[in-house]
Symmetry: C2
Subunit: 284 residues, 2 copies
C-alpha cells in the first residue's frame, strides 16, 4: 500500500512558461492551458511576468530576467518553455546564463525565433536547449498541433516531434537566421564546430537574407560547422525590383563561396509544422 | 610660352563614377553632370556599368567588379565616387580589395550607406576612403547642396564639407549602422582601434536598431573604438506597440553596457546635410 501511494503521488512533469521577449496573449495562454489539462501528462505554470508590458517588451529587462532566473533556480521545474519571440531576449541573455544555480542544469529549455539568443547563451553554458514551437504558436493555423508536438517532446521525448534529418551521431543546432547573425561575435556566441546548422527566417526581404548570409558565412566561427540546412524562409516581402534569386539559391550561393557544405532542407520555420531540434541530440 | 601652354594643358580632377550596388537613375546622372559642368573644376566620367540592371543590382557581380577594378587601375582617375547605395557592394568588396594595382593607391574613394562595405575593405587595404554624399543624392530635397559638398571636398579638400566634430589628432570612421553590423567578423572588417566611430541609419525599426547595437557593441573589435557618435537615424517605421526608447537613448544604453564612450551627435545621415568623414583625416 505504501509503495502504491508513493507512485500515485508522483507529479507529472512541471513546465514553467516565461516571456523573455514580448508579452504573451492571454487567449494563447488559455488555449495552451486547456490543451495541457486535456492531455493530463504535464503541469503548466504560466509565470505572471508573461503578461507584463513595457513598450515592446513583456516587462522591463529586470522583471523578465528575474522571472527567468526564478524558474531556472526552482528545483521543482522540469522544463522552461519560452512563451513567444518578438524581440528582447538578447538584452538579458548574458545575465541569465551567469552564475547558474545547480537546479538550472537539470531542465530542458525550449523555444525559437528571438529566444535563439537564450538557446545560444544557455547552450554555451552547457544547458539542455532545444529549438521548437512556443506557447504563442497555438494562435497559428494548425497551432494546436505545434503545441502538442512541443509537449510530446518535453514530456516523453517523442521521436515523432523531432526534425526528421537529425541523426544520433551528429550534433545539430537551429536558429533564426537574423537572430544568429546578431549574436555572432558577442559574449553569447556558442561553439559551432562540427555541428549541423539549421536556419529559418520570416518576414525578411531577399536582399536582407543575402546580406545576412554574407555576414554569417563570412564568420570564421560559422565556417567551422559541419554544414548548413535550410528551413522555411517565409513571408518574404516583395522586392522592388525583383531580387533575382530565391532564398534557397541565396543560401546555397553563400555556402559555396565560404566553402561550407550545403546539406539540403530542414523541417523548421515560423509555422505550425516547426519540428524540434535538441542541440544535444547526440546525447539524448 | 611653353610653360604657359603646359599650365593650360593641366586637366581638372578626373572623377570616375561606378555603381557597386544598385542602378543609378539616368536623371540623377544628368543632373550631377550638369552641376559638374557648371562648376568647371572637375571632369566626371560616369561608367556605363552604372546603368546596367540585373535583378536588385546594377549588373551582375562580375560586371560591377570589373567596372570598379577598371577605374581603380586607371592612373588618369583621381577619385572614385560611388553612384549610390541600396544593396550589393558586399558581394564584390573582398575581391575588389585584392591584389591592388598601384594606381588604386593614389585615389580617393567616396560613398556611404551600402558602399560602407567598400569603405571598410578599402580602408583595411590602406586606401584613402571617405564617408559622404553620392551621385544619386542629387535627387533628394536639397540634393544639389550635398553633391556640391562632395565635389568641394573631392576637388579642393574644402574644410567646410567636413563633419564638424572631426579633429586633426583623432582618427574617425563613419558607417551605416546596419551595414557595419553585417561586416563585423568578416574578411573585410577593418581595425577600429582608437578610432572615433560615427554611425547613422535609415528606415530601420527601433527594435532592429536596438538589436544591431547589441550586436555591434558586443563585438570585441568594436569595443576598441575611442567612442561612438550618433548621426541621424531617420525614417524609423512605426513600432507596434511603441518601442519605448528613441534611437539616441538606444545607442547611449548599449555604449554604457559595453563600456564604450558615447561622444554625442554626428552631422551625417541619409539626407542632403550628410557631411564628409575622411577615414584618414589625421593625415589630411
Amino acid at each position: 500500500m505504501r509503495s502504491r501511494s508513493l507512485v500515485q503521488l508522483k507529479l507529472p512533469m512541471k513546465i514553467a512558461v516565461v516571456a523573455p521577449s514580448c508579452t504573451l496573449r492571454p487567449e494563447a495562454a488559455e488555449a495552451v492551458s486547456a490543451i495541457v489539462a486535456s492531455r493530463g501528462d504535464a503541469q503548466l505554470v504560466i509565470h505572471p511576468q508573461c503578461f507584463l508590458s513595457d513598450g515592446h517588451f513583456a516587462g522591463p529587462d529586470g522583471a523578465r530576467l528575474e522571472a527567468l532566473r526564478e524558474v531556472m533556480a526552482d528545483p521543482s521545474v522540469d522544463a522552461i518553455w519560452f512563451a513567444r519571440g518578438g524581440y528582447g531576449s538578447n538584452r538579458i541573455a548574458e545575465a541569465a546564463a551567469r552564475d547558474l544555480p545547480e537546479a538550472a542544469r537539470s531542465k530542458i529549455y525550449l523555444g525559437y525565433s528571438d529566444a535563439g539568443f537564450l538557446l545560444a547563451a544557455f547552450y554555451k553554458s552547457d544547458l539542455n536547449v532545444a529549438h521548437g514551437p512556443m506557447v504563442q504558436d497555438v494562435a497559428r493555423d494548425g497551432g494546436p498541433a505545434a503545441v502538442n508536438r512541443a509537449l510530446d517532446w518535453l514530456v516523453r521525448k517523442d521521436q515523432e516531434a523531432l526534425e526528421p534529418g537529425l541523426s544520433e551521431g551528429r550534433r545539430a543546432m537551429a536558429f533564426n537566421l537574423t537572430v544568429l547573425s546578431h549574436l555572432i561575435g558577442t559574449a553569447i556566441e556558442p561553439d559551432f564546430t562540427d555541428a549541423e546548422l539549421l536556419i529559418e527566417d520570416v518576414a525578411e526581404h531577399e536582399y536582407r537574407i543575402d546580406r545576412t548570409m554574407f555576414h554569417l558565412t563570412g564568420s570564421e566561427a560559422i565556417r567551422r560547422v559541419a554544414g548548413i540546412r535550410i528551413g522555411r524562409i517565409s513571408e518574404i516581402p516583395d522586392n522592388e525590383p525583383a531580387f533575382g534569386h530565391d532564398a534557397e539559391s541565396i543560401v546555397q550561393n553563400w555556402c559555396k563561396r565560404a566553402g561550407i557544405a550545403f546539406l539540403g532542407p530542414a523541417d523548421i520555420g515560423h509555422d505550425a509544422n516547426n519540428r524540434v531540434v535538441p542541440f544535444n541530440y547526440r546525447s539524448n
